[in-house]
């Protein structure tokens, strides 16, 4: 009971913001085209769900984000760990990472479209490229911090060198790696919506752009809020999973 109370109190500012929003547009302080009232937005949201627009476009978007993210996690972890483990890989890869790191990944949107067209492929590639860096860097830093004595312990209990990668280096890298994946998760939403806004025939970003261009601002806001909520929920669920996975750390 007390815990629920605390949670309510924590999100009170959001409730206040919602009330302020409703009031501002109800009393005509801003024009309804700039900011439709919250109740209109909610009504538009229900319509969008009913006619299936939100679901179809949402599923298309989630598929792209999940595919891009999954690829980046798989490849980024392996690359980061091998960079830490084997010097030649590090020498080869780290300058590429350094050059690529500060590049705004949205600049690659036209490039990926030229390569893979207007469909899913270009979005997945963009998300994959953008998300791979934080995952790689997390895995690299984590793996580098793995303790020599742990590797030695595993070795003298009969683990081969390669085996210690899986048994010692990977779990040692886990806290930093999971942190990198969290950054990648947030980045995947950003890249998803911006790429869909520019060139797409479906998806959240496409829907926002389409509704906005047609002056359907209630519905546009409804989609924006949906994306914001999904991003928040994904992060919370991810944090819960991380806490579980790292339960062995000192509390």
């Amino acid at each position: 009971m007390n815990e629920t109370g605390n949670a309510l109190l924590r999100y009170l500012p959001l409730v206040l913001l919602a009330i302020a929003w409703e009031a501002v547009s109800r009393f005509g302080l801003v024009s309804s085209s700039a900011l439709p009232s919250l109740s209109d937005v909610v009504r538009a949201w229900i319509d969008l769900v009913k006619d299936g627009e939100l679901i179809t476009n949402g599923l298309a978007s989630l598929y792209r984000a999940a595919a891009g993210l999954a690829l980046s996690i798989a490849l980024g972890s392996v690359l980061g760990i091998f960079m830490a483990w084997w010097r030649p890989v590090n020498v080869l890869i780290s300058p590429i990472v350094e050059i690529f790191y500060p590049l705004p990944k949205s600049a690659l949107i036209p490039v990926t479209v030229i390569w893979l067209g207007f469909g899913d492929g270009s979005k997945i590639l963009l998300i994959f490229l953008g998300c791979m860096l934080p995952v790689t860097i997390g895995a690299f830093n984590g793996a580098r911090s793995s303790e020599q004595v742990l590797v030695w312990s595993a070795r003298c209990m009969g683990a081969s060198r390669l085996r210690t990668l899986w048994d010692v280096v990977l779990p040692s890298a886990m806290p930093e790696l999971l942190n990198g994946i969290r950054t990648a998760l947030a980045l995947s939403f950003i890249l998803l919506v911006s790429s869909e806004l520019i060139v797409a025939q479906k998806g959240f970003g496409f829907l926002i752009g389409f509704l906005g261009a047609n002056g359907n601002y209630d519905a546009m806001y409804a989609v924006v809020l949906t994306v914001a909520f999904l991003g928040f929920a994904a992060d919370r669920i991810y944090l819960l999973i991380t806490e579980r996975a790292l339960a062995w750390r000192a509390s």
Partner: protein, 270 residues
């Protein structure tokens, strides 16, 4: 004991190469023979290379000059015939007490039922029953070291390498762990090489104490220290106290030399 010695270290040098700065000769022509089921302590000031020697025997560092033979075979890498216990426990923090002990048995390919049973036996041996599902972060230093010892003993190595295993524990726990190690060692006799800079600990635990010189490390003297170890009161006997004194005088010279060297050059310890 030359022909029957289990570990034969013959004129081993070791050069420590730091990433920055000059190379340092850590071990200089070290020779030592250790018999089967013998308990030998390596004693010396910090930085004398005693841990380095242990890591060479363990196969963690390459032997570049000289040879180390175990049962007549050259050491070329780590193996389950040599178990090691480190000062800071080196437990896998993501595994429970049980998981840590199971790990080595799994790597040895022991069938599941057998390794579960053996794990519980060793948890009991070191007095950790009831803590099998705790993570290392939830244990005291003494309990962590008991886990590490159980993990190493469970795979039944012929040789036990111990690198200042009680150095990170408080004095009371250290005393308890020493007696317990002796108790376990008497039950399952193994060859033990025990690195320490605590003279009393070395004399109490070991059959022989090898005193090492300040860097570059050499074996300065080997002193017989066989006592009746079943009774911890031996620590107060005249004979024991004199032995500790004798060895302490040998170490003291080296400790002073080591300090003088350190104040001349701030070299990192290998």
């Amino acid at each position: 004991m030359a022909p029957s010695a289990q570990i034969v270290i013959n004129r081993v040098n070791h050069l420590y190469r730091p990433q920055h700065g000059r190379d340092v000769l850590a071990l200089d022509q070290v020779s030592l023979e250790v018999g089967n089921r013998e308990f030998v302590a390596l004693l010396g000031p910090s930085g004398c290379g005693k841990s380095t020697l242990l890591y060479l025997i363990g196969g963690f560092l390459p032997v570049e000059t000289g040879t180390i033979l175990i049962d007549g075979k050259k050491v070329t890498g780590p193996g389950p015939d040599r178990g090691i216990v480190f000062q800071h426990f080196a437990l896998f923090p993501w595994k429970t007490v049980r998981g840590n002990i199971l790990y080595g048995l799994e790597r040895q390919g022991m069938p599941k039922a057998e390794r579960e049973k053996r794990t519980m036996d060793f948890i009991e041996l070191v007095g950790l029953a009831g803590f099998e599902d705790s993570y290392p972060s939830q244990l005291s230093g003494g309990m962590k070291q008991r886990t590490a010892i159980a993990r190493t003993l469970a795979i039944d190595p012929k040789i036990l390498l111990m690198d200042e295993p009680f150095g990170a524990l408080d004095a009371q726990t250290r005393g308890l762990m020493q007696s317990e190690l002796l108790r376990i060692w008497q039950r399952t006799p193994k060859t033990v090489i025990f690195v320490t800079h605590d003279v009393q600990e070395a004399v109490y635990l070991a059959d022989r104490v090898a005193v090492m010189s300040a860097r570059p490390g050499r074996i300065k003297t080997i002193v017989e220290t066989k006592f009746d170890k079943d009774n911890r009161d031996i620590l107060k006997s005249k004979l024991f106290v004199e032995k500790v004194d004798e060895i302490w005088n040998l170490v003291k010279e080296e400790a002073i030399k080591a300090q003088q060297k350190r104040s001349f050059s701030q070299e990192a310890e290998p």
